[in-house]
């Protein structure tokens, strides 16, 4: 789960991390009032879950409250890479002297969390990693002791920066790690961590991602979820109890059991020249209700020109799965071609049931992919 910059900054303030001063506005009038309150030049920033908002015109500077109102009018409702802007963050305009990067994430290969710091902030850190790998400093935290002060110092003194500034950065690293642990984050990132001309150090941006497996122990996060900004089909999937749906931009709807198998299906459809419209893993065996639900969801995507069902019968038998599919399909209105590939336990019996009911049945994934791609051309 991800949250907006303004929400991230609220969480940072809670643990004592200073950020640029400001508040969120949903209307131009609110933006004007916040700018008047701040009483100096402000930045009006679009709150969207996608990078590159600055280049897209989603950040504007305003000298006066009236200008802030105008800026908010232009930004709210704006479309940035397919996402509609509903809110803006109005905050003090800061005069930056230096921009650093501070981030905490899971290092999967090390099996623990890592704090990363770079004196080259303000730009995409992945770019820095490529162009100046020696300018990214890391501190792997202990799996159960967390991070010690000396470890942060060891990381920071390698940078050769001024001690006075490093002491401030140290505090940010420690508190950011505290936030990361407290909220079950998978990413806490401050970029830029800005050293201002007046000597202050503030978090000028805040990016926080949470571990979806742990949201159950943070009920407060539910209030931060902005349903209106989620993809409508992904939201509809959740409402139908289908938690493993990802919308893509092609035209071949794909349903299967098992994440790896569905990923493999996407790959082979692409290899045969089709473009997958979605990833949908329905898990275990397919019963009629599940099939109807999954098909209903995939068919509600207007881009879908055909659907490929790929099931490997494991402990659930193929004939049971086939009956589930036959009954499930009857419950939805099917106007596009459907190809079913069924393999595994009792596949012959399963395929016979499907064929009897007039479905396109394929024996292999390759054959199924070829068929559905041909039918959706």
């Amino acid at each position: 789960m991800i949250i907006h910059e303004y929400q991230g900054k609220e969480l940072m303030n809670e643990v004592g991390i200073p950020t640029t001063k400001g508040r969120v506005a949903a209307t131009p009038a609110e933006a004007k009032a916040i700018a008047a309150e701040i009483g100096k030049k402000v930045a009006v920033k679009a709150q969207v879950h996608i990078g590159g908002r600055g280049k897209a015109g989603g950040i504007k500077l305003a000298e006066t409250p009236e200008q802030a109102e105008e800026a908010a009018k232009a930004i709210i409702g704006m479309d940035i890479k397919g996402l509609k802007v509903n809110k803006v963050l109005v905050e003090e305009c800061i005069e930056i002297d230096k921009e650093f990067y501070l981030g905490i994430t899971l290092d999967r290969d090390a099996g623990t969390h890592v704090i990363m710091f770079s004196p080259m902030g303000g730009v995409d850190i992945e770019e820095v990693a490529v162009t100046h790998p020696d300018q990214i400093f890391k501190c792997h935290t202990h799996p159960w002791l967390g991070v010690q002060d000396y470890e942060i110092r060891e990381m920071l003194y390698k940078t050769g920066l001024d001690t006075k500034i490093l002491k401030q950065v140290h505090m940010f690293a420690k508190k950011a790690f505290e936030l990361y642990r407290k909220w079950d984050c998978v990413l806490t990132e401050i970029n830029p961590l800005a050293v201002l001309k007046d000597g202050r150090v503030v978090a000028a941006d805040a990016k926080i991602n949470f571990d979806d497996n742990a949201t159950y122990r943070h009920p407060q996060l539910e209030a931060m979820r902005e349903v209106a900004e989620e993809d409508p089909l992904e939201r509809s999937a959740k409402e139908r109890g289908l938690n493993n749906y990802v919308r893509l931009d092609g035209e071949v709807g794909i349903i299967g059991n098992g994440a790896g198998l569905v990923m493999g299906t996407l790959d082979i459809v692409a290899r045969e020249g089709g473009k997958p419209a979605n990833f949908l893993d329905v898990g275990g065996g397919a019963n009629a209700a599940l099939v109807a639900n999954a098909l209903g969801l995939v068919l509600s995507d207007p881009n879908v020109k055909g659907v490929l069902f790929n099931i490997f019968g494991g402990i659930t038998r193929g004939d049971e799965v086939a009956n589930g599919i036959v009954q499930g399909v009857k419950q939805v209105e099917l106007k596009v071609p459907l190809v079913i590939r069924l393999s595994g336990t009792n596949e012959k019996e399963g395929r016979a049931i499907l064929a009897e009911n007039g479905y396109e049945v394929a024996a292999t994934m390759e054959e199924a992919a070829k068929k559905i791609v041909a039918l959706t051309r």
Partner: protein, 292 residues
Amino acid sequence: MSILINKNSKILVQGITGKEGGFHTRQMIEYGSQIVGGCTPGKGGTTVFDRPVFNTVLEGKNKTGADTSIIFVPAAGAADAVLEAAHAGIKTIVCITEGVPIQDMVPVAAEVKRLGARLIGPNCPGLITPGECKLGIMPAHIFSPGPVGFVSRSGTLTYQAVDELTRNGLGQSTCVGIGGDPVIGTSFLDCVEMFLADPATKALVLIGEIGGGQEEEAARFLEGKDIPCVAMIAGRTAPPGKRMGHAGAIVSGGVGTAQGKVDAFMKAGVPVLDTTQELVAELKKRMATAKV
């Protein structure tokens, strides 16, 4: 021979009285796995399928001599269950449970390692040494004994590939589903190392997916080794930043791309195939050439 489990493995089922635990315990017993008992706090003294149930793993281990456990407890208690088993002295622990918080697993995976125990998973189908012992939730009948060592991050894709292997007369020494989470107890490399040390394993199938750097690590290790080996990477067409079902199957920060994994395998002389059909055909060819 095999790796990790065999017909002598004595297994405790943690969460044996639950729906999933009960269902799969029956299937494992039917396969011939030595299930010596189960654990559910509060159900000690009862029996399931004629096996004794204990309140704690320690008690179960002391009374049955179990050396292996399989966990079916809900996500919120899974990390605790793994630690309980490890501290009781269980040597091989399989955690089937899906949805375990990452921050629970980080310290637990490290502690299990410190104790010298072996954790498989979480969020995995388990493992099987065909003909001897099934310690997981896979459909048993598609497996057959033989020389192919098999390691994979996904469940159904494994079943599909194993089914194809068996139909082509290629049996398996042990198949390990290591799990689809970002933090897991046993990596690709761990399995490959164990397989290379196992005299019964004469060929390898590796099924990876996007995310992390485990496949690359295993590929580097395989450079210069002469065992017939083939690989497959699921998620080659997945867009960056989208999590494909498994919590671990995501390309983020430029790390974990399919191309990086394919390149690493290719460099090690391990062909990466697009489908399980092609995978098995290629393995068969390579095994014939190597005369195994």
